[in-house]
């Protein structure tokens, strides 16, 4: 990515960007959607479900975990993953900023 000037932005802006970045890959969207469908599953289930190799899935899970989008519970020799809703709520709150007057600012913009 080249140098990213994260230090120049607020913690909140960096946190939101980090969550969005973690969601910025179709495999990770597919993982999130599979997790919500089955409630919780292990890495191996995702390897069967998605057209990617096990190390790749594991790496994507790590990415999602780093952003707090999922949690992993160790269950014997496997790890059970599920969604961490708090983070999704946080992201939704960011999006709610953009709910202004619906009559305004929809199909045009000017600096007037």
């Amino acid at each position: 990515m080249g140098i990213s000037k994260t230090a120049y932005f607020s913690d909140r802006q960096n946190k939101i960007a980090n969550i969005a970045k973690a969601l910025g890959h179709p495999a990770r969207i597919a993982i999130m959607e599979h997790l919500i469908k089955v409630d919780a599953c292990i890495c191996g289930d995702l390897v069967d479900e998605l057209p990617l190799a096990q190390p790749t899935i594991s790496q994507h899970l790590k990415e999602l975990k780093q952003a707090n989008l999922i949690k992993g519970n160790i269950e014997g020799s496997s790890v059970c993953y599920c969604i961490h809703k708090d983070t999704l709520v946080f992201l939704k709150e960011f999006l709610n900023q953009f709910n202004g007057d619906p009559k305004q600012n929809i199909f045009s913009c000017s600096k007037s």
Copy 2:
């Protein structure tokens, strides 16, 4: 980013990932937040506002425009940018999938 197997995922999953990826940088979050604060502004305003050079801002705006997160209106020699709410609504609808029973799946997960 290396080869991204986008072809293996649905159009919808790719679209969501693309929007999220566009939001996956603090400068672009800052741009979106500035745009909502002032309703609409030109590139030069953002150059004054953010600690990045003009070509960098322009590139970030292109990224946001490509994901349909903003629109640009040419006004004389400048371009007026504003938020494209439809895309944010689309992203919010994706997040709404994750609003299951609040008593379930909050602080634990198991494959039981």
